[in-house]
Symmetry: C2
Subunit: 550 residues, 2 copies
Amino acid sequence: MNDAPTPADHPLLITDFLYRARDMFGDKEIVDHIDGEEVFRYTYRDYAERVLRLASALVEAGVRPGDRVGTLAWNHRRHLELYLAVPLAGAVLHTINIRLSPDEIAYIVDHADDAMIFADPSLADLLSVASERRPDMPVVLIDPEGESLDAERTLDSMVASAAPLASPVPRRDDDLAVLCYTSGTTGSPKGVGYLHKSLYLHTMAACLADGHAISERDRALLVVPMFHANAWGVPFAALMTGASQILPGPHPTPAHIAALIEKERVTYTGMVPTVAVDLLAHVRGAGTDLSSLRALVLGGSTPAISLIRDLEELGVPVFQGWGMTEISPMATFSRPPAATDDDPQRRWELIRKQGRLLPGLQWKLVDDDGNVMPHDGISRGEVLIRGPWVATSYYNADHPDKFADGWLRTGDIGVIDEHGYLTIVDRTKDLIKSGGEWISSVALEEALLEDPAVHEAAVVSVPHPRWQERPVAYVVGDADIDVEAVGARLAERVPRWWLPEKIVVVDELPRTSVGKLDKRRLREQAAGTPDLWEATTPKNSPVPVPHRDS
Amino acid sequence: MNDAPTPADHPLLITDFLYRARDMFGDKEIVDHIDGEEVFRYTYRDYAERVLRLASALVEAGVRPGDRVGTLAWNHRRHLELYLAVPLAGAVLHTINIRLSPDEIAYIVDHADDAMIFADPSLADLLSVASERRPDMPVVLIDPEGESLDAERTLDSMVASAAPLASPVPRRDDDLAVLCYTSGTTGSPKGVGYLHKSLYLHTMAACLADGHAISERDRALLVVPMFHANAWGVPFAALMTGASQILPGPHPTPAHIAALIEKERVTYTGMVPTVAVDLLAHVRGAGTDLSSLRALVLGGSTPAISLIRDLEELGVPVFQGWGMTEISPMATFSRPPAATDDDPQRRWELIRKQGRLLPGLQWKLVDDDGNVMPHDGISRGEVLIRGPWVATSYYNADHPDKFADGWLRTGDIGVIDEHGYLTIVDRTKDLIKSGGEWISSVALEEALLEDPAVHEAAVVSVPHPRWQERPVAYVVGDADIDVEAVGARLAERVPRWWLPEKIVVVDELPRTSVGKLDKRRLREQAAGTPDLWEATTPKNSPVPVPHRDS
């Protein structure tokens, strides 16, 4: 090879998606809703015009290449405008989690060293601490739909004042395009920087026929918050393919989501299982028509088979994706093979698995001693992943324990079967080491969920004076749930030494800002229970047996 | 950014596809046929075992990283083994066109400086000149299915003698993986080198839901020759997604193709329109069941609307792809949008267009003076394309006129509409400049094809003493075709000065080695016709009018 450019030098920039949407799919729509009611509808052509003006205004406002520009906003069209305008201005879109406290937000804004922040007026108070600490950082309010803000500079006034950007501020495809902090259940929030190239390839993977298969035919509803790993990357996929986008606005409820699906003939959406459970309950009562959906993708935690089955029986095809902020976020997709078309039970079981690795990525299972484990459906190990959209470090932070030779240590313990389907069996930090043997909190939760009286279950590890660690279970269940009976039925399904020290009935399980089970809070709660070990009876004493032979 | 690895550094190597196929889709099949009869069937698991042994044997035989290893073979499983074994050995797969003459092949083999060549015994004679010139270059015979070759070294003996390769010979993703010479209608054949990264991204594009959408559910029939731009890249796409592959063997006829589709429940295939015309005729007679097909992709030249319609009416969904060897080869895909679901005529017209540019690529239309033309459905210009799977130079050859600032000059004149659908209206070298004005040979061919008596048509330019150039038409038609009547009907559909100087009826049109119309031969033939201008009558005299206003 010589010094002449090669195809490998061609940059993959997400800013191209804007031009693609405008030039090929100019008539496709973005629809904004508030409380389930349509409030605005415009085309990609008009969207692109506003984005290019906003990008130009950002440059005029002094935003320089590589600067971080924060957003603190719900899922609406102006947030989507910032998604492309900030990278077009050569800057880095920093989406801030609106469910964090003012102190946490101040930490993140400081760490990211944001040059400017755009905020929904209803959320602007969350910046109180950050603004105190960074008095020179401009906070630009995002005009709410249908209101005229009384401020010198707002997003709309910037759009109005500027001419469209003639061409994107030049960037390389290994420059950062987006920055997103993990909601981290331990330690300080950690920033994950997404390169242009990473997001471009992630978008292509999302649109594979065997992936989320997002296409020109789709009308995508963005339920996943846009501050959470780019709403799983769906906005970029929609722009690349020309899918229309339906935005639910602030505080979407299951009733709103159901109404939007029916009214807007939504074909594709994704959500965490908890939201899907509520949606299902609502739809059953209201009789909403969900027949337009070709895919409802669940992610964030493992769905119950009953949820997959019940949605399918309503005519909604369900899939599962697994990933994390550090993987942009998609790593796997659980699409059942043709062989299961006539075998619903097997299909549901496959969809319940986390799925096959997307092309472009590589993975391995590694045991505690660093040995690579076989993909035999039995051997377990921590899942390590690498690839062009997998983080190799955190943003301006050193966490060598999380990265190894270019591999991301996901912290998830998995089993991969001979067809390449991953099943997450635990988090490294959720494993319970009892008397020298591992107990799977996930397996215990599943066993609890087989009990009809149990609706939700969470198992955590607590320190134990004799056995190092022991499991404690938290359950949400029937109003008249009988804990003794639940324990007795559980004893029929798991080894005796797995039985939790205590089964605690609660009204609801604590969740993190992105809707995942907050096991950290449960662990703290469990460890702080004064009478915890009083419940220990001989029947619960750990009797270690080898995992493989059991 | 610092010196630590970033996600952008993760290499995209096509050798990964082998491991993916083995580890996730080990039960999927490769099926070999000869004359429409199944002769061998094995799994990706067994395929991978042989490929890894073959790769190891290549290294043992002295093949070094970057060496070119030629193949001269039909579409069968051992050719598919070489597809992956050669890159795994760190070498470059050089697929040689079996329809070239021994002299042409000798030129190509010399230019590529092949270190070794694998050849089907039935094709080995084509290497006579090459072997004379390069006596030290080993030619390894590929064992025909079911035969034992009496030779010291054959492909099977190499597989049998070697242990599986422990890991791929290390390569960067901007190293060459494949080399393919264009069948070039002008000058010497030119080599196009495909980088690992180029082919990886091309494969992802092929598997997009809005692209060929190749998926785990597919059973792909490889009709396009494997020496022609990697059979459009389908073998790599099938390995990446786990689609099964059906290989038709030597000399596939329309009857064989039809039989394979029916027997093997083929879901996806691609072919040039000429082959599809013959397939359609056969199926109509034989009543073959093609209902398993979810996509028949046409490429290589523009299909007639009647072909698209007739196939659709047989229940076969038709698509069109456009590309060229220099684009790996896919550039566009013509997938009709949802809006045409209930409007067959509009759908067929859209499928007949070359389609929308695949994500990852960029294009522009440029007029003779280098001006970028708008995408308005009217303005025409040469199509320039760039992207990670678009050549930026030829292999060890200087052709600056073909490349400009990283853009490939495709030589095709196109129009792009406001929805991003490209229509190729001419080749730069097929345009006819008559009396200072351009005549489109493609438009003339289309007008001729509207005549029910005309089955095929080709229009070429010939030098003219007065008007510089004038069109001459060659047609295949009904047995009792009346040329005068064809000319009269044509006069009703095109401007008077477009009417060909002569309409020549022939039994068949000449084709290149990959089945495309060979306009070079027609031009030579037309220019050599002694009485060509005698047919010129006043009615045919060019009366130039401006194109845009006509």
